[in-house]
């Protein structure tokens, strides 16, 4: 109730201001209003400017730190693929090639190039080559046995210590005992550089390699496929369940204490820290149901639990935003409730639902903590071929790499972060495109 001030005396009659007085007062207040509006605008601009600055700093720093991770140093030299050494059984079978001495063949070619002799010198020069080099050489022969007994040019990665040295992270001025490579090795690296045998190239190991303790050989392929498998499981479970729940709660469920209780709980679930879902997954799925640990299936189920509240909430908002007049129109010509929902409400709500789902999926893609709880932090070298193979996922791989002590993992970690972010950007772009495509006017 508004309380009016009592009239001061009995002959007071309330009246509006005269036009001139009103103009005067308006003019007076106008200046203040403009000032307020201007101030508010400048606050807004300052806020956006600051946010943009932070964003630019973030992306600039990630890109500048991460770009070197996409490259690494390779050394090129000729090797004679001696059949005696590489193919001891003489039948070019996989077993024979596997038992062959690729290491010796490789080192012979390398030492020839540098003209190395003596056990000590060979040990120093051998340190330049990555352990992955002999695997690559063997693969080359397995793929094409006709190369045996020919001379081939081979390009292999250098060891991570040499890589760090070439990047300038290991100083040649440091005392020899304090650095991981000795003076002899440095001398060989210098002569290789003089010969132009060392190249800074896009790293194929990063994209096509799997988890490895040797940073020069480590790649994200395994984790990438692990992520895709886990997300697929998560999507297959969370989307139908989430959308179904939203439709039921919004269109069919009676509004009573029970549904209200369920609603409050769904909203609360959306705010539960993700690590709690991991503990739940550990206790229930692995502990009680006996699902194996470290597999994308378990990870996908846990992430589906985590994503479902997001999908339910955004789907319900999408359903609620469908104009009631459309539903009335459908009911008005005798559509049943289910027909109205599936013919009209759902198609109109679909863009909103998909947006929510993709946001949920993006969250799931970046999730680490719950997957650590269910053992997806395992060191898995094989590329997972199915949802029940042990696997790890991109963010967990990043987390593991960040923990390793070798200098080269720093760049690999940054590069993997860039790949993860690109993955996210692609997903968000897909969300926008789907939304634009499905959006209809009414």
């Amino acid at each position: 109730m508004i309380k009016m001030s009592a009239p001061m005396n009995s002959d007071h009659t309330p009246k509006t201001l005269s036009p001139t007085l009103a103009r005067e007062r308006v003019a007076k207040s106008l200046k203040n209003r403009h000032l307020n509006e201007g101030r508010f605008l400048s606050y807004g601009r300052a806020a956006i400017g600051t946010a943009l600055l932070f964003l630019m700093f973030l992306f600039g720093s990630i890109l500048s730190k991460g770009t070197p991770g996409f490259f690494q140093y390779y050394v090129t030299f000729d090797v004679y693929l001696s059949a005696d050494e590489l193919d001891p059984y003489g039948n070019a079978s996989a077993q024979s090639l596997f038992d062959g001495n690729a290491r010796a063949v490789l080192r012979d070619g390398f030492f020839n190039l540098l003209d190395v002799s003596g056990r000590k010198n060979k040990k120093a020069a051998g340190k330049i080559l990555s352990e992955g080099a002999e695997i690559r050489l063997r693969q080359m022969v397995v793929d094409n046995p006709s190369l045996l007994n020919t001379t081939q040019t081979i390009k292999v990665a250098v060891d991570d210590d040499i890589d760090s040295f070439l990047r300038g992270f290991i100083s040649r001025d440091a005392p020899e005992d304090d650095r991981r490579i000795n003076d002899t090795t440095i001398a060989y690296v210098d002569s290789l550089q003089e010969m132009g045998r060392i190249n800074y190239l896009v790293s194929d190991y990063l994209f096509f390699g799997s988890a490895s303790r040797n940073p020069e050989m480590a790649g994200i392929k395994g984790a990438f496929f692990g992520s895709i498998l886990t997300l697929s499981i998560c999507l297959i479970l969370a989307f139908p369940l989430g959308v179904g729940t939203a439709i039921y709660l919004e269109e069919f469920a009676p509004k009573n204490k029970l549904t209200e209780f369920i609603e409050v709980n769904i909203n609360n679930l959306a705010a539960v820290p993700s690590v709690v879902f991991g503990i739940l997954g550990l206790a229930v799925f692995i502990g009680i149901f006996g699902l194996p640990r470290s597999i994308p299936l378990t990870g996908g189920v846990v992430l589906a639990l985590m994503t479902m509240p997001t999908i339910i909430i955004s789907s319900r908002a999408a359903i609620r935003s469908v104009p009631p007049s459309i539903k009335d129109a459908a009911y008005g010509i005798g559509a049943s409730k289910v027909q109205t929902v599936f013919h009209h409400t759902l198609p109109l709500a679909m863009p909103g639902m998909l947006t929510g789902t993709i946001i949920g999926m993006a969250q799931a893609l970046g999730e680490t903590a719950p997957l650590l709880m269910i053992g997806m932090v395992a060191f898995v070298v094989d590329i997972p071929s199915g949802a029940t193979d042990p696997a790890t996922v991109l963010p967990v791989q990043i987390f593991m790499w960040a923990d390793f002590s070798e200098r080269m993992f720093v760049q690999k970690t940054s590069a993997a972060i860039i790949i993860l972010l690109s993955f996210l950007l692609v997903m968000n772009a897909a969300a926008i495109i789907i939304r634009k495509k499905l959006e209809r006017r009414w």
Binding site: A329, I333, G334, H344
Partner: protein, 268 residues
């Protein structure tokens, strides 16, 4: 005068000689609030009945009771009896799906589906399984558009979106959509309130042409519209049905004081 309490029964003749819909002692409650008080009214075969009255008098609520559109509103309770051809539509065994096919409705704001013009009208026949093949469906659609007087305007662009039509065309599209399922009664809830005078004239003409084939109940705020299109007029006031009579009689010699005040424009 608006807040006058009335307990007197309805003045005039609520009965029709050939009733299609018979409503008896209908009460509607929204929670605690009573929106319709003991209303009884017949709607005859092929006649147009208009419901008039000041805002909030319950005329739209009553209209929506006639095909159970109020079912979709929560905490809406209805007592009394409404019969369609002598069958109680609020009988628990009554299925609302065929009921709403028999008693169609056109809303205040044109609400075409965000689909093609063709699909808008074809939707009803499709869900009710009225057409056995594409030719029959095409026939139904064309006939509905012709009855709604829209065929010439849309026949060349049936695949375009129904929402791209003008307001008046959209409303006629909605009427065609209602006609397509061959209803017996058409309810119209202020069908012209969102339209300009020319579109309104179109709709009124259409109502005139549809009369005879369909029983029509129309809620309107325009007394001239009620006078032009309807055979009988019912005047509602604060949930009571005050007076029912032939349209001519209501507008020339109203018997109730409230009706008289309303039609002479003293309130409303």
């Amino acid at each position: 005068m608006l807040n006058t309490k009335i307990d007197a029964p309805t003045v005039g003749n609520i009965f029709s000689k050939t009733p299609k819909i018979t409503a008896r002692n209908v009460n509607v409650y929204y929670g605690e609030k009573q929106a319709i008080k003991d209303v009884s009214l017949d709607i005859g075969f092929g006649e147009v009945v208009s419901f008039i009255g000041p805002s909030g008098c319950g005329k739209s609520t009553f209209l929506r009771c006639l095909n159970r559109m109020n079912d979709t509103i929560e905490n809406c309770a209805i007592t009394g009896e409404i019969c369609l051809d002598g069958e109680d539509i609020y009988d628990p065994r009554m299925d609302v799906v065929p009921l709403r096919a028999r008693v169609g409705i056109v809303f205040q704001k044109p609400n075409p589906f965000p689909k093609s013009i063709y699909d808008n009208v074809a939707y009803g026949p499709r869900i009710h399984g009225l057409a056995r093949n594409k030719e029959e469906l095409d026939d139904i659609v064309e006939a509905s558009f012709r009855k709604a007087g829209l065929w010439d305007e849309v026949s060349s662009r049936l695949d375009q979106s129904g929402t791209g039509l003008s307001g008046g065309q959209q409303q006629r599209l909605c009427i065609a959509r209602a006609i397509a399922v061959s209803p017996e009664v058409i309810l119209m809830d202020e069908p012209c309130s969102a339209l300009d005078p020319i579109a309104t004239a179109h709709i009124e003409e259409l109502i005139f042409e549809l009369k005879g084939d369909y029983s029509i109940a129309i809620v309107t705020h325009s007394m001239t519209q009620a006078a032009r299109v309807s055979d009988r007029t019912a005047y509602f006031h604060l949930g009571d049905l005050i007076e029912v009579g032939n349209t001519q009689d209501i507008f020339t010699k109203p018997q109730h004081e409230l009706t008289n005040s309303y039609i002479t424009g003293r309130f409303g």
